[in-house]
């Protein structure tokens, strides 16, 4: 087990390097000149002389590989540079907005899990019942509806018409409800179907039949055996959907005026605030990698066969 964890941790390094290199290159092939972006943000008329001076200051006149290594070293120390627009350290700006995004993402995941587990499980148990059909409808709806539109719909009905929740902003628990639902619905669609399929698969397994013939109570079979194993693909899904969630927070934060990191990122794109864009992509990559790692480890604990496989391969 230890070697498996070690191997997984080692695998993180090349993925991380690749992700940062890709970001770095993408920013460099874009037509935006960071020096010009900086001067424009600072309201200074860019002259050739000033541009050359700024390029030198940012190290843009050095070979790409040197620039990349330097950026990487700085990022590892959590030094993302200074925002072109606010002139504040990017890390400080990010840290200020991170709690709001984490709160939103966390509440959405909780909501998604709390709703999709019972739905998926019951839809499998009562296969082809009305409940199953309804859950399928919900899944289609959740998977296909664009988030921004769902956001507007929820605001229109639950906020403007029914006056149950505030339209925008952050503060009370009530502010959290609509954005969380908007963000969670797409996840509910995926997870509930994943769980349903997985439960149905497990129900075909010989151990269920064996347990039944042994006279073990149905409730016990379901909760202690079937659900525990069936939930594993859902965990993978959870890890893999972090990207969807991140992209989702950008949209949802914009629609609900949620004061988080996603909204700040959008503004940075419009302002061509390159250090902020870079830090966002970097943090997103880190989040992806870490989430996948956590999910893998969790799965290992839940289904020890995985780590056996890992070690018997060698």
């Amino acid at each position: 087990m230890g070697s498996y964890i070690g191997k997984r941790l080692l695998a993180v390094i090349p993925i991380f390097l690749f992700a940062t290199l890709l970001t770095f290159l993408l920013i460099h092939v874009s037509p935006v000149d960071p020096a010009e972006a900086y001067l424009t943000a600072a309201h200074i008329q860019p002259t050739d002389e000033l541009l050359a001076q700024k390029r030198h200051e940012f190290g843009l006149d050095r070979p790409l590989i040197v620039q990349y290594t330097q950026t990487l070293m700085k990022m590892c120390r959590l030094d993302f540079g200074t925002s072109y627009v606010s002139n504040e350290p990017v890390w400080q700006e990010v840290a200020l907005r991170m709690p709001a995004t984490i709160q939103l993402a966390f509440s959405s995941i909780c909501l998604a899990v709390f709703i999709s587990v019972p739905i998926g499980f019951l839809a499998a148990l009562y296969k082809n019942s009305v409940f199953d059909h309804l859950s399928r409808l919900l899944a289609y709806f959740g998977a296909s509806i664009p988030q921004f539109w769902l956001g507007y719909l929820l605001i229109y009905f639950f906020s403007v018409k029914l006056d149950l929740f505030p339209v925008q902003g952050r503060g009370s628990l009530a502010h959290l409800v609509l954005p969380s639902i908007t963000l969670a619905l797409g996840l509910i669609a995926i997870y509930s179907r994943l769980l349903r399929a997985s439960v149905l698969e497990q129900l075909q397994e010989p151990y269920v039949l064996y347990a039944r013939t042994r006279g073990i109570k149905e409730k016990l079979i379901m909760s202690k055996h079937v659900l525990k194993i069936a939930i594993s693909p859902m965990l993978t899904g959870l890890g893999m959907n972090m990207g969807k969630l991140l992209a989702g927070t950008i949209i949802v934060e914009e629609v609900f005026s949620w004061p988080g990191f996603g909204r700040y990122f959008i503004e940075a794109i419009f302002n061509r605030d390159i250090p902020v864009i870079q830090s966002y992509v970097f943090l997103a990559a880190c989040l992806f990698i870490v989430c996948n790692l956590i999910v893998d480890l969790l799965q290992m604990f839940m289904d020890p066969r995985i780590s056996w496989k890992g070690s018997t391969d060698h």
């Binding site: 037509p31 935006v32 010009e36 972006a37 424009t40 943000a41 600072a42 309201h43 200074i44 008329q45 002259t47 627009v85 606010s86 200020l96 907005r97 019972p118 019951l122 148990l125 507007y152 605001i155 229109y156 906020s159 403007v160 006056d163 149950l164 929740f165 505030p166 339209v167 925008q168 902003g169 952050r170 503060g171 009370s172 628990l173 009530a174 409800v177 109570k217 149905e218 409730k219 379901m222 914009e254 629609v255 609900f256 005026s257 004061p259 988080g260 909204r263 700040y264 959008i266 503004e267 302002n271 061509r272």
Partner: protein, 537 residues
């Protein structure tokens, strides 16, 4: 068994929902109680966080908020009239280089300290520490020195006469005044201020990044007190959400430029439940025809294009009447705007005749005119994300096709578009001038000055040199009459040469609920409108 489990689950969900709904009701009750008190509050929205409230810095600080706290020496009023604000009067020396201001004596900053010439000088010193950041403002570029002559006399000396100085002193930043308590130890405000202390009618009393900013009436304000006690600016980046929040009653007023979609404005107007209005023109949307392009270098071709589209129909159709058709480059509410401009009427036959005269003939069986075997093909670059430019570009494409001109339209990101404009790498481009209080002098300045795009695009006009000279003279002249003549001549040349085609006048919009009264659009494009408004309890 499973059924009982399901029941428990449903019960839990029910409790959760009730709890959440309970929270929301409690919340609205609380805010309802707040509003019920005697305090009058107006809640508005703004797309971006207000930023740091430092009078001497630019983005991300928002002009609207800076203008609530800080005041200028003189202020810009309708028609370009400059009126006393912190200075009660002023004199300009004969040579146009010395501006002496008599400051009002009863003015206090929001912390109770007095505003006087010493503080005014301290502010200017801070500005001049970073002169390169502010030299876009013409008079800062030629500012020689500032003096506190006595307690209430403040003097600016310029290196050379520059007539728009007074007008430029009305801008929101960087020439407004911070109180002593706000200055850092070294006096350099570019790195930040200690606290936002100003002389303006409002004080920032509560602020949460990206969420809201609350302004309370400044009890020490020297002028007429605002009618409401508080202005709350909620930060709502999305236009649709802004409209929904307004419809729900979370906002009392939506004010700004392009801050909600034209459709949303029309819809709110049509509902009849709210007050809506449009401001006087704040700027002119115009089309720049690049004279360095071989075809466009010919005046006849430019005139043909000008006559070749139905401007009235295009502006009406694309902007739903939110913008007004423009016949002259400056609208009438700007100083020195020409009043006797003869509009270029829509006349397809005339347009075709001009093209024929210019040698661009339509070969048999073809739809695009040619000259020496070359087709008459032009490229118009527009900003992808802007709601007006694209439909206008498409209209022009269709209209000009009818006179045998092939227009290729290219949608670009704003930055890429500006870059190509500045590099003179375009045939046609949508441009709009800066508006009050920056125009008309900033507009004529870029007609002459290279590096902004316009001057380079006009460079093949036969009288360009003369035009540049007229601009220089107009900016330096101390003789009002001569200046008027020069402005007239410059506008006549530009109008006749048809390289800058006025399209429409851009306007600000406002929507507010019927409890609000006394709303007036400020003459200064960047100023806030909050001092005159009132709300019924």
């Amino acid at each position: 068994m499973i059924k009982s489990k399901m029941k428990i689950l449903l019960l839990m969900l029910l409790i959760l929902t009730t709890a959440l709904v309970g929270c929301s009701t409690k919340n609205t009750e609380e805010s309802g109680a707040d509003a019920g008190q005697t305090e009058k509050t107006i809640t508005v929205s703004w797309p971006r966080d207000i930023g740091t409230m430092n009078p001497h810095v630019y983005n991300p600080s928002q002009l609207i908020a800076q203008s609530m706290i800080y005041e200028p020496l003189v202020s810009y009023k309708d028609g370009g009239k400059v009126e006393p604000q912190l200075a009660e009067s002023w004199t300009i020396s004969e040579d146009g280089k010395e501006y002496t201001f008599s400051l009002r004596q009863n003015i206090k900053f929001s912390d109770g300290t007095a505003f006087n010439a010493t503080v005014a000088k301290k502010n200017f010193d801070a500005i001049m520490l970073n002169v390169e950041n502010h030299s876009w403002l013409g008079f800062i570029g030629v500012l020689d020195k500032t003096e506190a002559v006595d307690e209430y006399t403040f003097k600016l000396t310029l290196k050379q006469p520059y007539y728009p100085t007074l007008q430029e002193l009305t801008v929101i930043r960087p020439v407004r005044f911070l109180g002593e308590a706000g200055f850092p130890e070294d006096g350099d405000t570019s790195k930040g201020v200690k606290e936002p202390v100003g002389t303006g009618p409002w004080m920032l009393t509560d602020y949460k990044t990206d969420e809201y900013a609350e302004f309370t009436r400044n009890p020490n304000y020297w002028g007429e007190q605002p009618k409401v006690d508080k202005i709350v600016i909620k930060i709502i980046p999305d236009g649709e959400t802004r409209v929904l929040a307004f419809e729900k009653g979370e906002l009392d007023l939506i004010y700004g430029e392009g801050i909600i979609s034209m459709d949303a404005y029309k819809q709110l107007e049509a509902s009849g439940e709210y007050e809506t209005s449009l401001s006087e023109p704040i700027a002119t949307r115009q089309l720049v025809l690049n004279t360095t392009n071989e075809a466009l270098a010919d005046l006849k071709v430019r005139q043909a294009l000008q006559h070749g589209f139905n401007k009235q129909a295009m502006v009406e159709g694309v902007t739903s009447g939110l913008e007004e058709k423009a016949d002259s480059l400056l609208s009438q509410n700007f100083p020195y705007a020409q009043t006797d401009v003869i509009p270029a009427e829509y006349d397809v036959e005339k347009a075709k005749a001009y093209l024929d005269e210019a040698g661009w003939k339509l070969p048999d069986g073809k739809t695009v005119r040619e000259k020496d075997g070359k087709p008459l093909e032009l490229e118009l670059i527009y900003e992808k994300a802007e709601q007006v430019q694209k439909p206008m570009a498409e209209t022009l494409q269709a209209e000009w096709a009818a006179i045998g001109v092939k227009l290729n339209i290219t949608g670009l990101e704003l930055t890429e578009q500006v870059k190509r404009f500045r590099a003179n790498d375009f045939d046609l481009y949508f441009f709009s001038n800066y508006g009050a209080p920056y125009d008309p002098h900033s507009f004529i300045h870029i007609v002459a000055e290279k590096g902004f795009g316009i001057s380079d695009a006009l460079s093949k006009l036969p009288m360009k040199q003369e035009l540049d000279q007229q601009v220089q003279e107009a900016l330096l002249s101390v003789d009002e009459k001569k200046r008027e003549e020069l402005y007239g001549a410059i506008q006549t040349t530009l109008h006749e040469q048809a390289a800058l085609l006025p399209i429409s006048y851009i306007k600000k919009t406002v929507v507010y609920n019927k409890k609000i009264s006394g709303f007036e659009f400020p003459a200064n494009r960047d100023e806030n409108p909050f001092s005159s408004i009132d709300i019924e309890q």
